[in-house]
């Protein structure tokens, strides 16, 4: 199929940037979106133009590195997939496709479609862990039974891949879904309960300092999340936050 690509090009963080048009032919429905981008880049390189920079790595939807905003949706039109798992069969011959980077104050553009998501790491550094040293002397893994339901809910929250689609989809560029997924995972498990209060207070504080917006419950994040992280987590985090703020 033939496509008309409109791609955001920006040389560096200080550059103003603009949309540029690239026609492409010979795209096959079985190709992934990023393989289509590879094909475009191969053509650009061989014709002496500069290839489009975009982040990607595992190409199986788990590393969270790919991050394209396609036709106004994070990770494109399909549900429950990242850009690398999006296949061209979801598009029609002759279609125009708009490709942009994540747009959020806390995610500055580095180049073209590549953004800086290190704010997520800094939120994690402020509390996204259980304070336990490696020793080999922790208690036996089966000494604290955990109800299957709690374990399953913790797991579901823990499947967040940290891609930032929630932030990109939110009109406020809020990181609540990302932060609440980690807060939920650890507050649901006995191992994480001990420092639950400090954790939620510290992580929310860092989130605010990094320039992410507030949550106004529009739910766009949940819809666009490639891993289906539930809004329930935000409710749980609010509860944990209130508990922490009132009793600390």
């Amino acid at each position: 199929m033939k496509l008309n690509l409109k791609i955001w090009r920006q040389n560096g963080p200080q550059d103003k940037g603009e949309m540029k048009t690239y026609p492409i032919d010979g795209v096959d429905g079985d190709m992934s979106f990023l393989e289509m981008m590879d094909m475009l880049n191969d053509q650009l390189i061989e014709s002496g133009e500069s290839p489009v920079a975009f982040d990607h790595d595992c190409r199986e939807g788990i590393c969270g590195m790919c991050s394209l905003y396609i036709n106004g949706e994070a990770h494109g039109p399909d549900r429950g997939v990242t850009t690398c798992q999006l296949h061209m069969r979801k598009f029609n011959d002759g279609e125009t496709i708009y490709i942009e980077p994540w747009r959020a104050k806390a995610f500055p553009v580095i180049k073209d479609l590549v953004v800086d998501r290190s704010a997520f790491d800094r939120i994690m550094n402020s509390g996204g862990f259980v304070s336990v040293n490696t020793s080999g002397n922790t208690v036996d893994a089966n000494s604290i039974p955990i109800p299957k339901d709690d374990a399953d809910k913790a797991f579901e929250a823990a499947t967040c891949i940290g891609c930032g689609a929630c932030v990109a989809s939110c009109k406020n560029a809020s990181a609540m879904l990302f932060v609440s997924a980690k807060v939920s995972q650890l507050s649901l498990l006995p191992q994480g309960k001990v420092e639950a209060k400090e954790r939620v207070l510290n992580m929310v504080q860092t989130m605010d300092e990094e320039g992410f917006g507030n949550c106004t419950n529009t739910g766009a994040c949940e819809v666009e999340c490639p891993k289906g992280i539930s809004l329930e987590n935000i409710a749980r985090m609010n509860r944990e936050y209130l508990k922490g703020a009132l009793t600390k």
């Binding site: 880049n41 969270g64 790491d121 604290i144 995972q185």
Partner: protein, 667 residues
């Protein structure tokens, strides 16, 4: 440097590690503050090593090329992690895990290392649970297990099909804690370009900051390389796009010997190749072989009909199907080790029974499992006389609970619904058992340069068992390196910070600068990928699942000529001092073009079949792999001579005191 001293401690196998730990030298907490350690790579091995070393008090500098340490490719591991917990009471023990791993590796690994791995395996699970890793549990709240290939017990812990993700996020959270405390300085979007050796010891690295292209000097008292495997030499593999051999290759060229490079694992259950533009292959977890049955049609007419589309796989009855693994290996059936399963698929497809357009696919079928689970659930839920629809519905929900994300992934990639029609799968390059040679302490032949996880060669011999990579990565990082590195660093408590304004750092940085300038200066006509794909084809066809002398010799010549052409006709656009993904790729492919030749040379010199290395010249009358223990019970360790075509071979003889060498049989 030519004598390989494995430094295996004396004493009986089950006392070696604990006795050694008791005698190992320690560094006192006040002195640890004055010692710096560099860790390259933040996967399970690197991440867990960085976190543990920082907890101990060392100043750690960690490097990854991705934008966050959480993205390392360990995250994509699906099925599980082994541990000798014997929670199922099915007869598991440290010895049995040790035995299974040595046997699974086709008797080409070091007994002492493997036993240590089995010993610390149980602590890994305890540690991960304490960190908040949400493993699968049963209704009693206790941990669940499943079974993997090549073993007869259920010792695999898992978190649906995302075990690697959960374990890596555990290690990442442990790192995050230390980054927050300032004990780890994290350098993301940085790629190691060179090792700096001072007075014969590893004392630092040159790294390129990918965002602005600057070359940076970083010094330390020891350097840990945990940069993963080199499967991407085949271009198409289950590795991430950025996975590379470069850190390993740089240290190899500085004096670290490279062991058993030809030992690569071809994983039997991957989604088959669909077209020329494909950039990577996707694994379907081995855990699926717990419940999936592998088959091809018995009659060649049915194969043709399926290819033409006049028949569907579900039209074939039991008698018309050839469950070839169950037929050939009745005692292990669909759960034979990976190398055996892969070769069996190749054998059927080579004979013309492949079920897709390319002739390179077999079926992985869940119909029987759905029915079995459905009946079981009907019984549990007291459904009287369930209809086949009831059974299907109940069974489907069980299978969905176990493998839901894998089925969804398969559906998104292929547009086929695996609940209704069997999956199509074919072997693909997945893991590399070979790697940098290390001694018992995980130190390479360069003093102070340690190598952990998939990047080293040590534990899996010629074939890795499923769910053992996660185990090894975390064992090395959490429980081995933190001890063994102290023994070395005990000599450095008075050294003080290593300066970076020395001749050694100048020389290393200049070498990197001129190499990168050379790549960007060629300005030829073909992209980096063009060369990478050509290399990959040669590797897959000649150094892949089956190898012979003639093909290996021609591979060596072809790789040399691709390499020459690369250096005269590659086009790397852009500049050195900017974010330049093509330049990063070019550096990695340049190293693959040298490694590929070493793999072929190694495969040629090992004229026996063992594990994943199958030499057509060495097979039994039934077509099974034939080992030659009298000639090849050694580790082939290669020293760089200055010319990639003329490596020097060193041998470490493998001594088996606790396990008797026999031909592997899974019949």
């Amino acid at each position: 440097m030519s004598v390989l001293d494995s430094k295996i401690p004396e004493g009986p196998i089950d006392r070696k590690w604990s006795d050694y730990k008791n005698k190992i030298r320690l560094v006192n907490p006040a002195n640890k503050r004055n010692i710096d350690v560099i860790v390259v790579g933040t996967g399970l091995a690197g991440g867990s090593a960085a976190a543990s070393l920082a907890e101990l008090g060392y100043n750690v500098k960690a490097f990854c090329f991705q934008d966050s340490p959480r993205r390392a490719h360990s995250i994509a591991a699906q099925g599980g992690i082994n541990a000798a917990k014997n929670y199922q009471g099915d007869g598991d023990s440290v010895f049995r895990l040790f035995y299974d791993t040595v046997k699974g590796g086709d008797y080409r690994s070091r007994e002492a290392n493997v036993h240590r791995l089995a010993e610390v395996s149980a602590s890994i699970i305890d540690q991960c649970v304490a960190q908040g890793v949400p493993f699968a549990r049963d209704y009693g709240g206790l941990l669940d297990n499943r079974s993997f290939g090549g073993v007869l017990v259920s010792r695999t812990f898992y978190a649906k099909g995302q075990t690697g993700q959960q374990l890596l996020l555990g290690a990442y959270s442990a790192m995050s804690r230390q980054i927050g405390k300032g004990k780890i300085r994290m350098y993301t979007r940085h790629e190691m370009q060179e090792l700096v050796v001072v007075d014969g010891k590893a004392r630092g690295i040159i790294a390129r900051n990918s965002v602005n292209g600057e070359l940076e000097r970083h010094s330390a008292h020891a350097v840990v390389i945990a940069s993963g495997g080199y499967g991407n030499v085949f271009f198409l593999s289950t590795n991430a796009m950025g996975s590379n051999v470069s850190a390993n290759w740089k240290i190899h060229k500085k004096g670290a010997q490279f062991a058993n490079p030809c030992f690569t694992q071809i994983h039997p259950t991957c989604i088959p190749v669909s077209g020329e533009n494909q950039s990577k292959l996707t694994l379907m977890s081995e855990s699926l072989r717990n419940d999936g049955r592998i088959w091809v049609p018995k009659n060649i007419e049915d194969v043709e009909a399926i290819k033409k589309g006049t028949k569907k796989p579900t039209d074939l009855n039991e008698a018309e199907r050839d469950y070839y693994l169950e037929r050939r290996y009745p005692s292990f059936g669909n759960l034979v080790p990976r190398d055996v399963a892969s070769r069996a698929a190749k054998e059927r497809c080579d004979a013309g029974y492949g079920v897709n357009a390319t002739g390179e696919a077999v079926y992985l079928d869940f119909a029987a499992a759905i029915e079995r689970y459905g009946k079981e659930q009907a019984h549990i839920q007291h459904v009287e006389n369930p209809s086949s629809e009831d059974i299907y519905k109940l069974g489907k929900s069980v299978v969905e609970g176990k493998y839901g994300n894998l089925f969804q992934m398969y559906y998104k990639i292929t547009d086929d619904n695996p609940y209704e029609t069997p999956m199509k799968i074919y072997p693909a390059v997945h893991y590399t058992m070979g790697g940098v040679w290390v001694d018992y302490n995980l130190m390479s032949t360069i003093p102070g340069c340690y190598v952990a996880g998939e990047a080293n060669f040590s534990d899996h011999g010629a074939n890795r068992l499923g769910a053992s990579a996660l185990m090894q990565g975390l064992a090395d990082g959490y429980f081995v390196l933190p001890y063994t590195i102290g023994d070395y660093l005990a000599d450095d408590i008075r050294t003080g910070a290593i300066p970076t304004d020395t001749a050694e750092f100048d020389e290393a940085e200049n070498a990197v600068q001129s190499h990168l300038e050379r790549l960007i200066g060629i300005q030829g006509t073909k992209s980096v990928d063009y060369f990478h794909k050509r290399l990959g084809k040669v590797m897959w066809n000649n150094v892949g699942m089956a190898r012979n002398e003639k093909d290996l010799n021609s591979a060596i010549l072809e790789i040399q000529s691709i390499r020459d052409e690369f250096y005269s006709n590659v086009r790397v656009p852009g500049k050195l001092d900017e974010l330049n993904p093509e330049l990063e790729k070019a550096g990695r492919v340049a190293d693959f073009l040298e490694l590929g030749e070493l793999m072929a040379i190694d495969a040629l010199s090992r004229n026996e079949s063992c594990g994943g290395h199958f030499r057509e010249e060495s097979q039994t009358p039934e077509g099974e792999a034939q080992r030659k223990d009298d000639e090849y019970a050694y580790v082939a360790s290669w020293e760089y001579s200055g010319n990639p075509s003329e490596p020097k071979l060193h041998k470490e003889d493998l001594v088996f005191e606790n396990i008797k060498l026999v031909q592997r049989s899974y019949k």
